[in-house]
Symmetry: C2
Subunit: 366 residues, 2 copies
């Protein structure tokens, strides 16, 4: 066998997602309906009823290829945010946007900057194209943009920023972010990943779409997988200046976003009540879980997302807690691959799910 | 504006798909229900009823991320074809498999071989990674594997073969194909694209999955978009030796295949009647259209797919026919981008759709 691949391919460590409910059921012999998954930052209330109706209606032409140009969805997005369809690219999840940005603008010889503890996919897409990843140390678990600036070299071609960041839940305030964009060379692409933007209070949002005309090197990515609850359908989008978007569209697979996802996303954007309800439930659940951490004297990183990471004594204790929760049917997420081996990340669930999580958290006899 | 991209990116010409019904309706002011789309090799009878039920049932957990490992679907595929799950990779359409193969095994310095008139995506994925594409002249519109052999150089890293090929519909017989695989160096990856395999009579199928153990450099790709009718959902898969599949999985996006597509594919594989019905309708429709070509003295390329390409006098006449059909609500596909400017490709539709197509074909006053 003499198939050779580039070293950068064989060096990739595959992404480890949250354990699916079906997998835990198989492995531990627990009935699926007894399992609570708080491991993948999914929306515990599901999806908008309008989206369900839209999917059912779209089923009648599911044998047709989807609209590769995403005409209707781009129109709805552009109207909602006062941008133009030519500033929008659709992705098979926002993961697809992150990957397309790297594949379009970065070559083997270039460098990509991202933060320690930042979303794992930045490192993966960097490795998959064989570029050099530059991981900038975090300060108090947060992106440190000053250190980003000093890490820029002649080879820097792209910078990934997650805001809020997963799995730390930290937020860079909009003024700091804008100053950073102002300060860096304009030939460097900045990908601002705002997958959790919908959970932010209005005055904390950076309203980054308004920056697109000023910063022609900026690409903002958004997701329908989180607050909109469409994780299972795979849809996200990127917003940037038309010439960046046009270049990314050349690399994009012609039919990367399925038809049902497009129709569900259109309906979801029209359902403001659903997003309000999701945000409200998340705020209440976050308070509930944070309260439990305080009562149990468990350290945690204050989070702006729909999840929160908490710290246990050491790596061994962390895994004992993880397995204790797991065997009681509660799936959370170890994040040692994020350089946080003493932490677990829990997604905010329904009130009763949060209660069960805190119950098993409190009765773990280590 | 000083954003620079590699020449190979800016040289990509985006893929042009078949015109969507909604686009023709918008542009020509024809009601959508009066438009017949025979432009994208879709299944005119839709999808399996079992698949519809599966999608409806899967909707209840569409807020969850899909199973990134595709456990259940790989199990069903492996049982159906007597292979192992470790020999299977799932894709967001088989397009994703073609792209993953190129991105995993080919670098900027390498060459990729494909045929003249072959599926356009081979050239696109080659360009997107900046590799050199070597287009081998076709013989009588068919892949000429002898010329493939003589085109191999030290830099050849991957060969794309479409069987049957789109848009010509030509088939390489299994003996010729196996001899070719026997003859070429074993460090060269061969991607055998069998998107239309389900339409072949049993004794014409190459049964290429049986070759996987022998040819450790072979990757076969299959699609659910054609005979299974799931084009709108985006799902396909690749089959190859476990070590090739494992490498491709490193480059694959963790959640590249949506949940509804996985469930629909599982149900579709269990519905043998649907595939039989699709194949029967396709054979009847092919006879109907071929008969019309003969009566109208129109030259065509005999096809093994669910489409057939036919030749008109010259490029100008071809586009006159195309627009005549279009303004009468019949969408077919010009294929000048396949180096076949005098041809149009028509997908086999329902009996009545084929009849309307042949009617407007015969009354075009050029």
């Amino acid at each position: 066998m003499v198939i050779q691949v580039a070293n950068y391919i064989s060096d990739i460590e595959p992404y480890e997602g949250g354990k699916p409910i079906s997998e835990v059921a198989r492995e531990l012999g627990i009935p699926e309906n007894k399992i609570i998954k708080l491991a993948s930052n999914e929306n515990p209330i599901g999806i908008s009823q309008l989206a369900k109706l839209a999917i059912n209606s779209a089923l009648k032409e599911v044998e047709r290829y989807p609209d590769g140009n995403g005409f209707h969805l781009k129109k709805i997005i552009s109207e909602k945010f006062s941008i133009t369809p030519s500033q929008i690219i659709l992705g098979n999840g926002s993961n697809d946007i992150l990957e397309l940005a790297a594949r379009t603008f970065v070559t083997l010889k270039d460098e990509i900057i991202y933060s320690q503890h930042a979303f794992a996919v930045y490192k993966l897409v960097t490795k998959a194209i064989g570029a050099k990843g530059v991981e900038v140390p975090a300060t108090k678990y947060c992106h440190d943009l000053n250190k980003f600036s000093t890490s820029i070299t002649k080879k820097t071609k792209l910078i990934f920023i997650a805001n809020p960041n997963n799995p730390t839940g930290t937020l860079i305030d909009k003024k700091t972010l804008k100053s950073f964009l102002d300060s860096i060379p304009k030939h460097i692409i900045v990908v601002l990943d705002e997958a959790y933007d919908e959970y932010l209070l209005d005055d904390l949002k950076s309203n980054s779409f308004e920056w697109i005309d000023t910063f022609r090197n900026l690409i903002v990515s958004r997701s329908f997988s989180k607050a909109y609850g469409l994780a299972g359908l795979r849809i996200g989008y990127g917003v940037g200046s038309p010439n960046l978007i046009e270049l990314m569209n050349r690399v994009r697979q012609p039919f990367n976003v399925n038809h049902l996802a497009q129709e569900a996303a259109i309906a979801s954007l029209n359902d403001k009540d659903f997003i309000e309800q999701s945000r409200k439930l998340n705020n209440e659940g976050m308070s509930q879980i944070v309260q439990a951490f305080k009562e149990l004297n468990i350290e945690f990183i204050p989070s702006y997302g729909n999840f929160v990471s908490f710290k246990l004594q050491d790596e061994k204790t962390t895994m004992l807690y993880y397995h204790h929760l797991l065997k009681n049917g509660v799936i959370v997420r170890p994040i040692s691959n994020y350089d946080l081996p003493e932490f677990l990340r829990v997604s905010i669930g329904l009130k009763n799910e949060n209660k069960i999580f805190t119950k098993y958290l409190s009765n773990c006899n280590i």
